[in-house]
Amino acid sequence: MAETEVSKKRKRPIVRLAVLLLSHSVLVSVICCTAGVFGLLLLPVLAKNTYISENALMPGSASSMLSNQEVSEANKLIKELNNLHSNPLGATTESHGIIAKYMSNLGAQVNNHKFHPQLNQFHPLHFFSGPDSGVMQENSTRSLYGINTVGIIRAPRGDGKEAIVLVTPYNAVKGGVRETLSLGIAYSVFSLLTRVTWLAKDIIWLVADSQYGEYAPVAAWLRDYHTPAFSNLDSLNTETCHVGNNNFESKISYGIRRSGTMAAALVLGVAYGNENEDTLGIYAEASNGQMPNLDLINIVHYLAVHRQGLRVKVEQFHWLLNSKWVKSLGEVFESLGKMVKTLNPDWKLGISAADYVEGAATLASSLYHQALGVPTGPHGAFRDYQVDAITLEFSLRISFDRLDRRNDFLLHGGRLIEGVIRSVNNLLEKFHQSFFLYLLTSPSKFVSVGVYMIAFALLVAPLPVVAASLYAKTLDLNPTSEKDKSATSNELGSVLQSWKWLNSVKTVFVVHFWGATVSLLPYFISQIPDSDPTTNFSVWILLSILSLEILRWILVSPSSHIYGLPQGEWAILKSATISSFFIGLGLMSVINFATAEIGALLMVPMALMAHPLKLDVRGQSLRSILRMICNLVLGVISFPPATFFVFKGVIEGFSGIKAGDFWNWVESLWAWNSATYLYIAARS
């Protein structure tokens, strides 16, 4: 006995701490969860001001060279294109011809790029294969095609190893003044850049044919740029089925011209603003929650605000701006900040309530878009090739009809783009200096990975603790049998005992497998011809239930002891489920933080609260009924989003990689969800 006491005392402090945590697992999990949620709410307060990290960028250090001369040239192009719109007949080919003519007159190399819009496909496993050379299905899309026009300026000093890309989506058929204006901005910059001597990187101007959406043409061009198909499968860009009777037009080749690796890409758009001042919207979220380097956003923000006097905004959840509780939370934080300041004037935590609300709305939108994994614009296509890209959307306070107003707008927009290009042109290395993992709380404020991970870690921390404590408890529940076994030294028995968790792991695995099957189903369902979303959806539900039954029949029923409910069996099951959650969330946080964070917010309380319904029903106490209600509510809450989003996915059919990423999100959430859901269901 004395010896054991000594050994207990000799236990290392970390072990003692672990034991302490395990014994108070409920308390620990409550504290951690609250702290995690609190930390998330505190993020707008902790946001830091952005700063330009790469010294080579030097934004705004050179005075702008864009003058009214370029603007008036751009106006000519705009006028000519607008005239075309008045007679829509044959506007498509002619507008390409006009743009190409203007480009080549500037001395740029011009080529057309023909592409087929991809069908709305739902490729669940596309995410894993990555962007591949566009091997298309030989189906009816042959007749549909769009034409991108690409102009390249070869840098006078450069060696053509790097390029900067300008993208202007343009719909020749339906494009209004808006789109021609963005073309005008790009053209004014382009015409300036053909003459400057400081250019070290090539400039590629892609006029993306957006009649099949803005994303598809850019993605198609990037695919052909990076992974061309040499063999005959895709002879799209060689065939000369071209109707242009213009002599000049026939000279433009359809072979893709290349420059070097892309340093950065800017997508330009113009929107009708209904605000009081000229604003510039920045869209940065690419597929799967990837963000461009923060420096790119920084230079755009710096130049727009300090040089061109534009107001910069990023996306926000507007409903959050008006919500009462966020406002009151902001007030609480404001007063807290003031209090902290009285304690130590050096701590600058306080932000005003209005700022907090703004920050929270932006943060929420930033989190949401990253978690969704669907790019917020054509810039998303670039991130798949590791090119930093953002979409800039100019919006004007009044209409563009007045010429002086329009000139002013073109001048400001052009100067902004010129400044950004000049900064990126200065770069010796690719963007690497600043953050890639961040959340924006305003155009000039960000939360870095080091800060937001704390909140997430706190939120997830209870999972292993609870899992371990549950497991430990089940071991303690039948100590007598264990003692017996050790006494009789029944080797087999003790082995069986210690490997008991395998059964529950198997159950968890089966449930996950079911989840995976269910999430793969939409792909096959979408292959069914001539079906509307509602039938698709019902077929899907039916199939998933069917597969669940089959799985249960095949795999689960042999181990009928789950229904036998031996004491403590459910606890092991729960601990296995929680562990798998923990591993899944941990992995997910590396891949896509926002998804993991939202997933954790939904799952962690549910996972911790989960308790067999049957026991609750039997228990009849107030506490157990409360717990039962909580379980059901949480279960339902966390289930519908998945169904909703998958439903959306099936209806809208995100194409290509978007579907893949979306898929990824759905799959993970779904797998976890279904596991828990089924677990709860099986208990009841």
Binding site: D159, T227, N232, E429, K430, Q433, F436
Partner: protein, 585 residues
Amino acid sequence: MAILLSRRSNLLAVVVLLLCQLFLYATVSSSGSVLKQGGGEEFSEELLLKPFPDRKVLAHFHFQSRAPHSSSHGRHHHLFPKAIAQLVKKFRVKEMELSFTQGRWRYEQWGGFDPLSSNNAKPPGVELWAVFDVPQSLVDVYWRNLTHTLSGLFCASINFLESSTTYSAPELTFKPSFGNLRYGTLPREAVCTENLTPWLKLLPCRDKAGLSALMDRPSIYRGFYHSQRLRLTSSESGSDEVDSGIGLDQTLTVVLQPSSWRTGKTYSVETNIQPSWSISSIFGRNIPGKCVIAKSSNVYLQLDNGLVGELKNLERENAKYVANTFESEGFQSNHAFKISVTPDKVFEEVDNLHGKSTSVIYGFSVEKYSDSQPFDLGLTWKIPVVWSCQQAPLHASRFLMGSGNERGAIAISLEPTESSEGLPTSHIIDGRCELRVDIFQVVPWYIKVYFHTLQVFVDKQPRAMADVVDKIRVSPSKDKVSPGVMEMILKLPCGSKSAAFSLEFDKGFLHIDEYPPDANQGFDIPSALISFPSFNARMNFSEDEFLNNSPILSKFQHALQRHHHYMHSICIVFWIIAQCASEAC
């Protein structure tokens, strides 16, 4: 033992003394002879100007120095730079070419077929190749010493070519050689005045007089292409009377934008009129007469055959000017353009292979000009002219495929240029029409190319390698020892619309100290070289004796160099893990 040693040292001393005496005698006698015949050394300077279709102007300086072989004339030189003579002697250089280039030669706009472009278009950065007159086992040692000497001579990091990972020994495609050729490039070397100054020092007049006085640094570095070249040939005396000795050709090729067109009214879409320029408007200086030591000092203005053809067409349309033929008038002042100085000579290319239009060269001698009356050649355009330069038979481009941090592919694509529909018929072997194309490519060791993945596509159809590749020589890279070299001799069927090659590679995992500074910039794969041996880039002129005295024109005429075409370097970015420590990423 001690006695033996001392005896030996004695003997050595005697030998050394004897040698010294011999040497002294030799120098004294030879210097006398040098004085007698003006050194047998000669120097000539020339400048060729040529308008390009894209409103730019090419200026090509050519300085040629010759010296008889040092063994017959001793160590002293009057005109020839001593540093070069010593270098040739010490490292037994038979042939050598060093080029510093900034910017790209635009084959599509500036032409890729005439002798000028195929000799003077060079890859960006530094390129050095040399042929040594030593046994093969010693070549590497001599190369290393040569790189260090050149590095010191030209203020450049040519010494990095010393490492065996940076140079290679091409055998098949680059130049006929017998294992004593070495070739190395530094694609990222920046070129600036610090390289030009030592290069100018090799000229007898530096940039104080003669044509080199035009080299106003801001103007020549403002250009779109800048290539400074030094080429050495040396041959043992006795082999050939004319060519024996050392020949040094220094050329500077710049492509400049005449500034006038921007200052005038804005360039509008309708008028394609070429900018008018003069030497003083391009360079900001005039030619203050010739370098007095120079044997000849000439300026040429070349109008290439596309332009001449276009002008003739215009002429024909304008009935008014029909009487005014080119041959008689030399059309220095016609309805299309005006040359401000009357040319001393007009050369017209005869019998172009294609039987189409021929190019015209105006020659101007600078000898009669002086400080008080400087030479300033101007070209004024009167009507818009649109033409295109003569293209190489194939347009070649090389690019990277794939994205990501692990693997990718290098692709080379060949397409017939616009001028020729399909591949030009050139070579008929066994009744089959074929075009021979040589490709030479060096890949650094950290890009692990899998040569077995070479795929060949002709006309978008995958082909077996044996169908297209006539000969191939591959030396795979060795980690940290030698680069991978691929040389291919292709036989493409005539009339093919396209050909493409792809090679897969893995990006090697480098140790942290193997990254260069600014590691996130990526690594450059040096330019690949493609040549068309079945095409001769040469021009024929009728008058002979004048041409032989002119280095530029005789180069044009006798150039039997193969048709070289560089595919510009590409950059591979490696993911740098070590850099992340500096800041959160």
